[in-house]
């Protein structure tokens, strides 16, 4: 599980750094507008950069949110239905979640590879467009990892949700 701990630390540090840099850049952009003129127009790339960073912020954190059981959902009946029917519902949720995420990783990978091959560049930031598609590909992979670990009982992602039950 050491690998997971490393991934988790990487996700946390990346998310926090990206988030704070986004704030700084966006705010600097507003300040630059005060100066105006050509100085302000040199900051035109900020908006696109911050948007791209927000994609990475989101998709580098979705796995953490899943591991902590924080994603929205109606968890009230799940364990009661599982007890009543004897179905391993938590495992079913994990399995479906895993397949769904892997499918999106596959689509994301295709899209990333295709756009990478085209070599298209973004208009103001002038970086390759494939970065945009890489973010969800990574994000769904990080979630697939959590679904799989939970399926095999290596992490308890339901602990936080049990307290919602009444």
């Amino acid at each position: 599980m050491k690998a997971l701990a490393i991934i988790r630390t990487a996700e946390r540090v990346a998310a926090v750094s990206i988030f704070l840099v986004m704030v700084a850049l966006y705010f600097a952009n507003v300040l630059a507008r005060q100066v105006g003129g050509t100085f302000a127009s040199e900051f035109a790339w900020v908006e696109e950069a911050v948007r791209l960073m927000s994609l990475f912020l989101v998709f580098l954190t979705v796995g953490l949110a899943l591991e902590k059981g924080r994603h929205a959902g109606v968890h009230t009946w799940r364990d009661r239905i599982a007890r009543a029917t004897g179905l391993p519902l938590r495992k079913i949720v994990d399995a479906v979640g895993f397949v769904f995420c892997i499918y999106l990783v596959w689509l994301g990978y295709q899209m990333t590879a295709f756009v990478y091959g085209m070599g298209q560049k973004s208009p103001t930031l002038n970086i390759p467009v494939f970065w945009i598609y890489l973010a969800p590909t990574i994000g769904f992979a990080l979630m697939a990892l959590r679904f799989a670990l939970s399926f095999f009982g290596r992490i308890d992602r339901f602990a936080g949700q049990a307290s919602e039950e009444q």
Binding site: V30, V58, A65, K68, H71, V74, I81, V96
Partner: protein, 428 residues
């Protein structure tokens, strides 16, 4: 038709069985694609998922969440509430007004109702009980006052609605201010009646000296609503820029002026805000996918045709809107309710000549009522865990407020001017 029924059944099953909401939205969307639009190229899915979140307006959400977390953790929220208390605390029922005003003040710097419940409950519950408000009434008032956080700008719900429908977020913010005030007024009337009925004591009168001290203490905190509201309404900031500025201001005030924000705390708070952001955005991403198929399947025009067939006008339509949002709000989270119901209903509303800002107010008020409505109103559970009170006690205290809410909802629904008067005044 059978396939369509299958999609609906799967969606309901996933919801009831406790699947994550992004799966509840995403799996049926993929099914619709496979069943009905199999010839669409697969990469469309990724494009629509990204289209759901890759937008400048939406950047306001992470920024406002981070600012709210910083202020809730620190001093700004507490000082704003303290100011409200010295101004109205001495009146009969003053602690009730403090709860309402404090929630609105907290709402004016954050945009989250559960965060408002959590922050306010600890601060005002003991004091409400001390002056003689009943347990039930205190709990009911604390939970329902937090609703105003969704209406008083900045409101994440309005940002999402504005982005989904192309409505000006700034206009929605102004409209929300008016509707939030109406709701606060309704609760204040209830607090006044309750205070008289059960003989609640007056709080000690605060001297002008104490008030000046509170105003001075709240000085830096007051800068926050000024930056957000003043900045947006004067046209100086876009909502997204105001959101970024509010984070910088919160870090500056909590870190440099109040000296309470350490680097370790900043890391923890930012991480929490990042996770809250991810939870909302993964829903938006799946919502982007789902709403694409809702539009493609021409669901809105089917609804319009149905309304024509039963000769339903705007009044009937708005009743249907209210009922569907109320039911959705009882079960699912506010953002999912928006993502599922707005794409099919909004085009119908515009076709019937309903003002987009007015429709936004109705939708958001419905969602806030959903947050306090049993069985699943999120705020009920937040209050329950914050104050260690049984859920059933809170629910029994909430009923009068839910009825008051429904009356306000009827007024807002059928008197459009309340929602549109201020936005039209400010923005012409």
């Amino acid at each position: 038709m059978i396939l369509f029924a299958l999609v609906i059944i799967v969606a309901v099953l996933l919801l009831v069985l406790g699947f994550e909401m992004f799966l509840v939205l995403g799996v049926p969307a993929l099914m619709i694609k496979e069943f009905f639009y199999g010839n669409l190229p697969d990469p469309v899915v990724i494009q629509k998922v990204l289209g759901g979140i890759n937008h400048t307006t939406l950047l306001a959400i992470p920024f406002f969440i981070l600012a709210a977390e910083l202020m809730g953790e620190g001093q700004i929220a507490r000082r704003l509430t303290g100011l409200v208390k010295v101004l109205v605390g001495h009146l009969r029922g003053g602690m009730g007004y403090t709860t309402i005003g404090g929630s609105m003040a907290f709402g004016s710097v954050s945009g989250s109702a559960p965060a408002t419940v959590a922050a306010m409950a600890r601060m005002v519950y003991p004091e409400m009980r001390k002056v003689g408000f009943s347990d039930k009434f205190s709990l009911g008032l604390i939970v329902s006052s937090a609703e105003t956080a969704l209406l008083i700008p900045p409101s994440i719900t309005f940002i999402i609605y504005g982005w989904m429908t192309g409505t000006s977020v700034a206009k929605l913010f102004v409209g929300g201010l008016a509707v939030g005030l109406v709701l606060g007024l309704a609760f204040a009337i209830m607090a006044a009646i309750e205070a008289r009925r059960s003989g609640v004591e007056r709080g000690p009168r605060t001297s002008w000296r104490e008030r000046l001290v509170a105003i001075r203490e709240a000085g830096w905190a007051l800068g926050m609503p000024i930056i957000i509201l003043g900045g947006i309404y004067s046209g100086y900031f876009t909502p997204t820029e105001a959101a970024a500025a509010s984070v910088v201001y919160a870090i500056f005030v909590e870190g440099v002026i109040f000296r309470e924000l350490t680097l370790r705390k900043l890391f923890a708070v930012t991480e929490r805000a990042a996770i809250s952001t991810a939870i909302i955005f993964v829903l938006l991403a799946m919502g982007g996918l789902l709403s694409y198929f809702i539009t493609l399947a021409q669901v809105p025009s089917a609804i319009t045709a149905f309304l024509d067939a039963i000769h339903a006008g705007p009044i009937m339509f708005l009743l249907i809107v209210n009922i569907s949002f109320l039911i959705a709000g009882m079960f699912i989270d506010p953002n999912s309710a928006l993502l599922i119901l707005v794409p099919p209903l909004y085009p119908v509303a515009t076709a019937l000549g309903i003002d987009p800002v007015h429709f936004g107010m109705i939708v958001t008020l419905n969602i806030s009522i959903g947050m306090i409505t049993p069985p699943f109103g999120l705020d009920i559970f937040v209050a329950s865990s914050t104050l260690s009170k049984p859920v059933l006690t809170i629910i029994s205290g909430l009923w009068p407020f839910i009825i008051a809410n429904l009356i306000v909802l009827a007024i807002i629904t059928y008197v459009p001017d309340i929602s549109t008067f201020l936005p039209n005044l400010v923005f012409g």
